[in-house]
Point group: none
Chain length 120, copies 2
DNA sequence: GCGGTGCTTTCACGCTTTTTTCACGCCACG
DNA sequence: CGTGGCGTGAAAAAAGCGTGAAAGCACCGC
């Protein structure tokens, strides 16, 4: 693991501003109402924005401990978080599923087709 | 570390960046959406870029076990991978067929120039 | 104590994507 | 032509995922 030079107080990803100390998230200046789990999940993903993060990693960094087989907590909270992000920023897509791998957090236009094979 | 070559975290082949730990592939910076099999096939080929790899080798390193007679899995996934690479990088050709031998992974201009490096 | 409220965990159903398998057709070669 | 090798669309089977809702808890005002 690389030693990060400093831990910032605020993360900026797309039009999101995540205030770590306060537990507050602003979307284009407007506050989102997130629960503790939702907030920590968002932070865990935003910290590694652009990378694919496995459910195991997300679970251990948000819930602590090992993800047990069959535990769908991560999926459920990803779904909740998506709902809130989507209603705050309908034109953005932040959470991308990579089946078999995990999730990737990255702001992209919501209609955009990624880079699918032709016809997708 | 004299004895064994370290295994890198990231492979670079042409304009592809293959992040092994994450299961993520970037083509000129943009994320490709690959399935698990597609990704592992790409990795198996990229690791031996420039060499001809037989179907047996590819099968055993991606699927594990022996390739059964008549099993076309490798061909099918080579085709899928070609499709995605081609739509991401239309000007490149990565996967070359050597009939009777196997496949060779190497970035080349996609034009139908039929020239070998030596002679021609 | 009691019912109400909000968060978390768990369960289950159905849809989507991936993987496997099958089959048809093209191509090079003898 | 006949044959081996290969590309690839599509059906069938399997795995993965999204999500509504039930159930368990903690907290709060009455």
């Amino acid at each position: 693991m690389a030693a990060s030079p400093e831990s910032p107080d605020i993360l900026y990803v797309g039009e999101l501003e995540i205030r770590l100390e306060e537990g507050l998230v602003l979307a284009t200046g407007r506050a989102l109402t997130l629960s503790v789990r939702e907030f920590e999940l968002l932070v865990a993903m935003a910290r590694r924005s652009g990378a694919i993060i496995t459910r195991e990693e997300l679970y251990s960094s948000v819930w602590g401990g090992e993800l047990r087989a069959g535990d769908r907590s991560v999926d459920v909270y990803v779904s909740k978080l998506r709902g809130k992000l989507e209603s705050a920023l309908p034109d953005r897509r932040f959470i991308h599923t990579h089946p078999g791998f995990g999730y990737r957090f990255q702001p992209e236009p919501s209609r955009n087709v990624h880079m699918e094979p032709a016809g997708g």
